[in-house]
Structures are given as structure tokens and as C-alpha cells.
Symmetry: C2
Subunit: 221 residues, 2 copies
Amino acid sequence: MSEISVTVVRNILEAQDRIAKSNRKLFEDHKVFVLNLMSSPGAGKTSLLERTIEAMKSSYRIAVIEGDIQSQEDALRIKRLGVETIQINTGGACHLDANMIQSALEKIPLNAYDFLIIENVGNLVCPAEFDLGEHEKAMILSVTEGDDKPLKYPLMFQKSSVLLINKIDLIPYVTFNTERVKKTVSELNPRIQVLEISCKTGEGIDKWVEWLRNRISLCKH
Amino acid sequence: MSEISVTVVRNILEAQDRIAKSNRKLFEDHKVFVLNLMSSPGAGKTSLLERTIEAMKSSYRIAVIEGDIQSQEDALRIKRLGVETIQINTGGACHLDANMIQSALEKIPLNAYDFLIIENVGNLVCPAEFDLGEHEKAMILSVTEGDDKPLKYPLMFQKSSVLLINKIDLIPYVTFNTERVKKTVSELNPRIQVLEISCKTGEGIDKWVEWLRNRISLCKH
């Protein structure tokens, strides 16, 4: 890249960092726990949101930001659960950035919520590079994607606090070595917590909800 | 974006376009059919390559360019089949571009091949935006990703000549409406051909190979 290109890219990234910091301060001032949920397309982000909201909406005030390139499909699924949902359509962009979140926050009265979930665009690569101002990043890997993914797409595994291995109900029908994934992931990111779940059967969702309750409670103090 | 940013981005894109054109001319001069294979992570690109190479290597001289962010896993799988394989590690980038292909071509004597397959980085978004100089783009959607994907990630479906619906052996265990996908996809891209396959059982691979044979034969004339 030319010197001008490098300067332009650096300026854009610095502006994004400033906005992420400002988002984070807003979340902390309002004591709202904010989660950035990432995965490949179809790994089960929206299904996990449905399970999570069903389990938690009686105890917590929850809002959702739905990131999609286009369409309102996921936002409609979440709105049906009676939860405040803001749709961001990136119009082509392959990830959410701090600026898009800042604009969405204009429509969300943060003092009315305990927990804000941001569902990122389905993409195992780019979303991991962008700080939105969230407290934690969580990611899903579904067993149908294969157990070689941490080696091939390491950044998201390195940046996430929790890895949810989803669709474990399909393990009998695919080739997926859970222990191989756990080993590779712990080498990439020794602090990551790994939870095995099935959004279809509900298995393992209790442990995920427990992790979220602890994190929300930390934000209140 | 500032005026300088717009100019820089435009210059980069124009340079990429020039390189893609130069790659395309090289492929045409050597009468090599070049396919750009794209999908989400874990949809089955490498498994499809294995099936394709097994079915075609006795009749065609095949080379493969493997695109991955990092790791050599996929290239090793393909090399085992006795086929010339060049690994590109993008070092973070979420897609291949024409420039990376141009560099890889320095290592491939094109006149020794009939068919070059480029396996792109696993990503349902960004690779669709980049012309590598290929003749055709093909994409895989696996049934475990869900039948709502064409609506949510339309560009790749619009740019591809063939959509391979993979993992049809798993249809009994997931919620996937093939007719819904076909309808949405034909609205997005009336020219697209849809083939239903299972890289696990081999079902449907014959139709895919037939499509490839026709395309390779067109390049020879």
C-alpha cells in the first residue's frame, strides 16, 4: 500500500477505536452488560438468542441489535419474543463496526435495560477484528462446520471469552472431534470457556445462562 | 469517507481489476478453465474438491490453489490425491484477490493444465466481491446452514453460476426447505444452476462433474 493508503486506513481505524471507547463508556455508565455474538452464517446465533431470551426475559430487561447485510428476518424472529430489537442492515459490509452501533444506540434508552445482545453479521473472519465497545465477545462453532476451524480461522477464537459448540445433537451424523477442538482452542486462547450446547434440544443452555447471569451481575456493581 | 479515502479505495479497486483482467487473459491464452469455489467455513469446499479430483483426474490435468487465512491443512488433503497444489495464506485477509492469484500463478506452468480450481477463504460475504480472473464462480450452501441464507447473503448467490446444495444426507435431521432455497435463488439470479449433492455419500457428484466437463470443453475451443 502507498503511504497515503496507510495513513487513510490508520485514520479510519483510530476513529473506530474512539467510537468503540465512547460506546463502552455509555454501557458502563448505564450498567448494561453488552455481548457481541459472532459466528459463521447458519451456526445458530439467532436460535441461541431465542433460547437465551426465553430463559432470561422474566428476570432481565433485554434489548437486541440485529446485524445483517440485508433483510429483516432475524429481527422479526426476535421481536416475536416481545423484546426490543433494532435492525442494522450493513448494506454489503461483512461485519458491524462501532459507528453502526453508535447510530443504533440513539434508538435504545440504555437505562431501560440490563443486557444488550449484539448479533453480528454471519462471518467467521471479519467481525473479530472490530471492537464495538462490548464487554465480552462470544462465538458459536457448530459441529457441522468441522473440527479444523480453530486452526484455520484463529482470530475469533483468540478474541472470544466463550466458545459455544452448537448442534451437538448432530454429532452422531458428522465427523467432529470435540476434544480436538478443545485442545486447539485452549492453545489459541487459554482463558476461553467452552460450552457444548444444542439450541434444538436445549441441552447445555442452562450453563450458558448461568455464565450470562454472572457477567450481568458483575456489571451492576 | 473523506475525498482522499475515496480516491485511495478507487485506486486499489482499479488496480485489482487490471490484475484480474490480466489473469483472465493468461487463462484464456493457455485454454485452462478456472473455477473460483466459495462458501461459508465448513460447507464442504475441500470435500467437494476431493470428490471432484477423484472423479476427473484420470481425464484432465488439474491444479488447485488453496486459499486460507492460515494453516496448510486443506492443501495437504488435496496434495494427497497427487494433484499440484499451491497454498495461499492470506495472513488475516478474509478473501482472495487477483493480486494473490497472480503471485501464485508464478508457480504454476499453466500450459501443463486443463483445469485450475481456486478454493477461496471460507466466507459467505467478502469473496463474492473480488474478481480473480476466473471463468466461473461456484458456491456451496450446506443444508445445516439453513434455508434463509440466500435472502441474508444475496451477493454470492447473484454472482455464482452454480449453487451446490451440500450435505443433503443430513436433511432428515435439520430444518431445510430445498424448494424455498431454489425459489429465492432463482429470483436473485435467474441464470444460476442448482445441484443437490452429498460429498459424504457421493450423491449428485456425477451432475456436477458433467457441468465441469462441459465448461472445460468450451475453454478448449
